[in-house]
């Protein structure tokens, strides 16, 4: 090899030196491979950790904050909710079906690792433009992958986002959120303890999946092409049936109290699971690499230790419990193999048979606790002033406002109809609404609590491209209002930070700004961050994606007696806009981007005012004072009204919208509600009392959407455009899987 092994493994010279320092000697190749995967950006968050520390993470109801497999919050009645969000962007760009499928599998394991039964998935998806064949292929494959894995594994996919934009042409974003519930007392952590306890590997056999970076070691000593080809790492392939059995087996083990600690195998595979459980428990581990059941012949120890083969878990059990563990696993046809022993001290020893040769010996904690931490250079774009001065409000007014409105309508039904979104009988409000609303039942008794959990996922790359800080705060504002639209108050935030190359100072500036915006909003809304994921290096051909922080917000509905009002108003209802249009700034709006204008500034967000609007909307929804409710977001008031008209198949006549800027601006903190004539005064009075400005927009009636002086369209025409965009572009589905 021409370059030093550590560099080929992606470690810098400084990092390699630090390893030598930590060990007091030169590492061998297996040890180097283990450090290289654990100290990768993906596993160590070495570029982002310094900024993530600023996020607020505490509240009385937070049981487990960031840093564990999932965040956990107390939701009352002896029930805790575990939540996590992750990205699977790069695998999905290469093999969309398996990339998305294994993304679903991975997030599920993070949840049941905590002792929780996964009850819901959400999928925020972002692809290149619909007129790009490769982007369509990726979109179809990803949706099939989510559908194929999620449906089969038996966890409903209850919501998400589907966004198409130029910025994702070479680099789609496939994020996935999972929510689980557990009896509070069953909470378990990824922690080994008790010297003499055993580490049991559960689930699939280990193959050469996803060993990516470390595969360079495989070519050492092989010159012949055929041998190389056989050693090449393969795309990770998901097996939802294995995962389903693994879920049932693990939850049974936890129910019977057989598990001291448990960790899923994700990035960095066995290296990560073994070192984290040991170091979290302040113990060491002897890990017998020869005992690991394999799918392929001739695998070397470094391949076994870094493989990312799916559907595997590492459980720490007592020696007395092992037989019962084997028995329960065998009921579920899950392979269970003792691969490690908990030892005193903090050494992770990789051995070839417990009494055999020592292949590696490193302090377990150094693999993650000593991972490098970088404060990478940050720099605002050089032309920021000129960029911000170039407002989209300077663009010429559209000739045909109605045509521009129609162009922005897109129904995600093509996507979510391929997902089982009803399993477990919880889904009161499903995908396609502002937020998802689930019945909260006790995870073991199934008893109804009369309360509900609400979930929303929101991201807006347009806002964040214009101003990552305000854009992220505005995204949080939207998430808060989405929850309010189903009557929920926020409990906890998770985030998936999808950014470009952190070695570009501008990207680090975006990341830092976004975290500042999120911090302010989370504090203002009382929604602590309980977990997150950072996905960097989202770039193609040297171009970074627009910064795309995706927020997952979990909320609670205290009294779930009836289905909350949806988007559909009734003929004769009065329409009211709650919240002030602080600015008619068009920069960062979907309308501006569709005109090809991707510059300008965002008006600041008044987070206190947004919170007041959310409080008001929540009370109106829960007291059934409104007949329909919908937040104003992408596409502005125009798209909000059009979506409501389509949902109700009743038009409306709207006055008081000055121009296209007023119709399409995306000023945050606004919600459209409809009320009967009798209730309207009460709604206005309650808004007054709450200090929330209101605008009486007009009346729901007839079969046309008419905005005085701007547009007049048949609702049928809107409906057709709305419903047919995706089926027309993405055809009738794909057959893979």
């Amino acid at each position: 090899m021409s370059e030093p092994v550590h560099r080929a493994l992606g470690l810098t010279d400084d990092e390699a030196e630090k390893i030598t320092e930590l060990l007091g000697r030169e590492p061998n190749h297996l040890e180097l491979a283990m450090y290289s995967v654990m100290w990768s950006e993906h596993c160590s968050y070495k570029s982002s950790r310094i900024h993530l520390k600023r996020l607020p993470t505490e509240a009385p109801w937070v049981l487990v904050g960031p840093g564990e497999n999932a965040g956990v919050v107390d939701v009352g009645d002896g029930i805790a909710a575990a939540i996590r969000i992750e990205s699977h962007n790069h695998p999905s760009a290469i093999e969309p079906y398996q990339g998305a499928a294994t993304g679903v599998g991975g997030i599920l394991r993070d949840i049941f690792t905590m002792g929780a039964r996964p009850i819901a998935l959400m999928d925020p998806l972002r692809f290149g433009p619909l007129d790009d064949p490769r982007s369509r292929w990726i979109a179809e494959g990803v949706v099939s992958g989510v559908s194929g894995y999620g449906n089969s594994v038996g966890v409903p996919t209850v919501g998400g986002e589907t966004v198409f934009d130029e910025t994702y042409r070479g680099n789609p974003l496939v994020n996935v959120l999972c929510l689980g519930i557990l009896p509070t007392e069953r909470l378990v952590l990824a922690k080994a303890s008790g010297v003499g306890n055993l580490a049991v590997l559960l689930g699939s056999r280990t193959g050469r999946d996803g060993i990516g970076g470390v595969s360079v070691l495989a070519s050492a000593g092989f010159s012949d092409d055929e041998a190389d080809a056989a050693k090449r790492p393969s795309v990770q392939v998901g097996d939802p049936f294995e995962e389903k059995r693994l879920i049932e087996a693990c939850l049974t083990l936890l129910d019977e109290g057989l598990v001291v600690g448990i960790q899923d195998l994700g990035g960095a595979g066995l290296t990560c699971a073994a070192s984290e459980t040991a170091s979290n428990g302040g113990v060491g581990m002897d890990f017998d690499v020869s005992a690991v059941p394999r799918r392929e012949d001739g695998m070397e120890p470094f391949e076994v230790m870094t493989s990312e083969s799916q559907e595997r878990m590492l459980a720490i059990v007592t020696p007395e419990g092992v037989d019962r563990v084997r028995e329960l696993c065998s009921k579920w046809e899950v392979e269970a193999t003792v691969v490690g022993r908990v030892t005193e001290g903090g050494a992770l020893r990789i051995v070839d048979g417990f009494e055999g040769e020592e292949l590696a010996n490193v302090p377990a904690s150094t693999l993650h606790e000593d991972a490098p931490l970088y404060d990478r250079p940050r720099q605002a774009p050089a032309d920021l002033d000129a960029f911000r001065a170039d407002s989209a409000n300077h663009l010429p007014a559209p000739d045909d406002v109605g045509a521009d409105l129609k162009a922005m309508l897109i129904d995600p039904e093509w996507v979510y109809s391929q997902y089982d979104h009803q399993l477990f009988l919880n889904t009161v409000v499903g995908p396609g609404a502002d937020a998802t609303l689930l019945r909260l039942k006790h995870p073991t008794t199934g008893e109804e609590t009369g309360r509900g959990l609400a979930l929303t996922v929101d991201g807006n790359h347009r806002w964040c491209a214009i101003d990552p800080k305000i854009g992220t705060a505005a995204t949080m504002a939207e998430a808060l209002l989405n929850l309010a639209c189903v009557g929920a108050k926020p409990l906890a935030t998770v985030n998936c930070l999808n950014f470009g190359n952190p070695e570009h100072p501008e990207v680090m500036w975006q990341l830092s700004e976004a975290i500042d915006g999120m911090t302010e909003a989370c504090e203002a809304f009382g929604a602590p961050v309980v977990g997150g994921n950072v996905s960097l290096y989202n770039e193609s051909l040297g171009t970074n994606i627009d910064p795309t922080p995706v927020i997952g917000l979990l909320g609670m509905v205290d009294d779930l007696r009836a289905v909350p009002p949806g988007l559909d108003w009734l003929d004769g209802d009065r329409l009211i806009l709650l919240g002030a249009t602080e600015s008619d700034e068009l920069s960062g709006s979907q309308w501006a981007f569709e005109q090809g204008h991707r510059r300008g500034r965002l008006a600041p967000v008044d987070l206190g005012a947004v919170a007041s609007v959310a409080d008001l909307v929540r009370s109106l929804v829960n007291d059934r004072m409104v007949t329909a409710v919908h937040d104003v977001s992408v596409g502005g008031l125009g798209v909000a009204l059009a979506e409501m008209a389509v949902a109700s198949n009743v038009g409306c006549t709207i006055a008081r919208v000055a121009d296209h800027a007023a119709l399409f601006c995306e000023s945050p903190g606004r919600v459209v509600v409809s009320a009967t004539t009798e209730q309207m005064d009460d709604v206005l009075a309650r808004a007054d009392a709450a200090g929330v400005p209101t605008t009486r927009l007009g009346l729901a009636h007839g079969d046309r959407l008419a905005v005085k002086g701007l547009l007049d369209l048949a609702v049928d025409e809107l409906t057709t455009k709305y419903r047919e965009t995706l089926p027309a572009a993405l055809g009738q589905g794909t057959t893979q899987g």
Binding site: F241, R245, Q418, L425, V563
Partner: protein
């Protein structure tokens, strides 16, 4: 005394506890029947629920039909006792030969989850005694392989013998004759692709499933 419903569980089944919840809301008891056990636990009626038994590998239902529990279910059915297969359960019953035909991939080649309207075609079945012919009920579907297929002779026989129990008002999957559910010649075994257990609660968009499962409990 409240009847006891046996709910079959294969590895990969995922709707078993939904069925348990739905029949409990109608006042019945249930017992989970693990696929390796031949004992039906004293059940008065059996549901083969939805999901992906054995991952749907090879074909939906192909592996499940060989389970010990299915031998007992076949014997139970042969005694004229009520058996219903829902979704994957319907697929298992056709593979097991308890119902004619087969379920192929949907014509649109897409998994489909959503509300459908079903027309009641026969009231002489364990799921429809509380209904009238021509009634339209709203019950969700959730499947990739719900496209009912059988020979022309079988279809003619199903029609002649009034064994088509439900048809789709708006066919979502290409099923022959818009068939959503059928029964056997003895009329005690029914299979249907839609999920009645998903339509049994005020908060879930339809309560029509209570009519179907209520009928089922009447004969249990």
């Amino acid at each position: 005394m409240a009847p006891t419903v046996g709910v079959v569980q294969f590895p990969g089944t995922n709707c078993e506890f939904d069925v348990v919840e739905a029949v409990a809301s109608l006042g019945a008891e249930s017992v989970i029947l693990w696929h390796q056990e031949a004992d039906l636990g004293g059940a008065d009626a059996v549901v083969v629920p939805g999901g992906f038994a054995h991952g749907d590998y090879l074909r939906p239902g192909a592996i499940a039909r060989f389970s010990p529990v299915m031998e007992s279910v076949a014997a139970f059915a042969a005694q004229g006792r009520p058996v219903v297969g829902i979704c994957n359960g319907f697929q298992v019953l056709t593979e097991a030969g308890l119902l004619p035909g087969a379920l192929q991939k949907n014509a649109g080649l897409k998994f489909r989850c959503g509300m459908t309207e079903l027309r009641v075609e026969s009231v002489d079945s364990p799921l429809t005694s509380r209904l009238a012919v021509g009634d339209v009920v709203r019950i969700p579907i959730n499947h990739f392989e719900g496209n009912y297929t059988c020979s022309d002779e079988d279809l003619a026989r199903l029609r002649d013998e009034d064994r088509i129990v439900f048809t789709y008002v708006d066919n979502p999957n290409g099923s022959m004759g818009d068939i959503a559910g059928i029964c056997n010649a003895a009329r005690n075994v029914v299979g249907l692709m839609p999920h009645p257990e998903r339509a049994c609660h005020d908060l879930l968009g339809s309560t029509d499933g209570r009519l179907l499962l209520g009928s089922f409990l009447d004969v249990a």
